[in-house]
């Protein structure tokens, strides 16, 4: 039973990682690519760590896998927020079909955060 679950979660997690890498290659814009990249960290690595917990079925391994998953879930949004903010202020080109840019008005009014001063 554990073997079946291990194999299932390994295949699912690696396929999610593959989809994320494919999106990283094919999507048109930095911000849209970040949407794909975050899936690999949470879903892909998370499912593979769950598979490892099922494979060993020991308390220590399960706790370490859960700690790694919770750490990934905590840091992935923080890292994505940092990169997205830095990318927007460093002047990335948005996709030409983008039709909502809520930061643009504040940006053109000079309402910039302090750190953006070089």
């Amino acid at each position: 039973m554990n073997d079946i679950l291990t194999a299932l979660f390994l295949v699912l997690g690696s396929l999610f990682c593959f989809v994320a890498a494919l999106g990283m290659l094919r999507l048109p814009d930095t911000v849209i690519r970040m949407h794909a990249a975050t899936k690999a960290g949470t879903l892909g690595a998370g499912l593979i760590l769950i598979a490892e917990a099922f494979f060993y079925a020991e308390l220590g391994i399960t706790l370490r896998a859960l700690a790694a998953i919770s750490f990934l879930l905590l840091t992935a949004p923080v890292a994505a927020h940092l990169i997205g903010r830095a990318a927007y202020y460093s002047g990335i080109r948005l996709w030409h079909k983008t039709w909502i840019d809520q930061l643009k008005d504040r940006f053109e009014a000079g309402d910039l955060p302090e750190e953006t001063d070089p």
């Binding site: 291990t6 299932l8 295949v11 690696s14 990169i83 030409h96 750190e115």
Partner: protein, 110 residues
Amino acid sequence: MPADTYLVVVASRFALVVLLISILLALVRLIKGPDAADRIVALDLISMLIVAFLATESVYAGETSFLDVAIAYALIAFLGTAALARFLIRSPQRKPGNINKIEDKTAKNE
């Protein structure tokens, strides 16, 4: 205990190959990426894929210490991403004054 069941061996080999292909695809974006932000996003994705690869390798080789390596690598990767984003936001910015210049360049590219 290494992976001894046929099912787990096949699944972990499949996962290792798929993860390697994914790392190669992200590497293409790392080389191609037009901006520094694209390269940072690709590097972040590659580090997440390496964490998944280490966890899979831990199942395939039956070595539990690879899990500790994966946890430590995830910690270091987060610090590296935060430092690179900090570096990017400190580098020369687009300002309200030259935003039109950047958008003119965009219009020319399309």
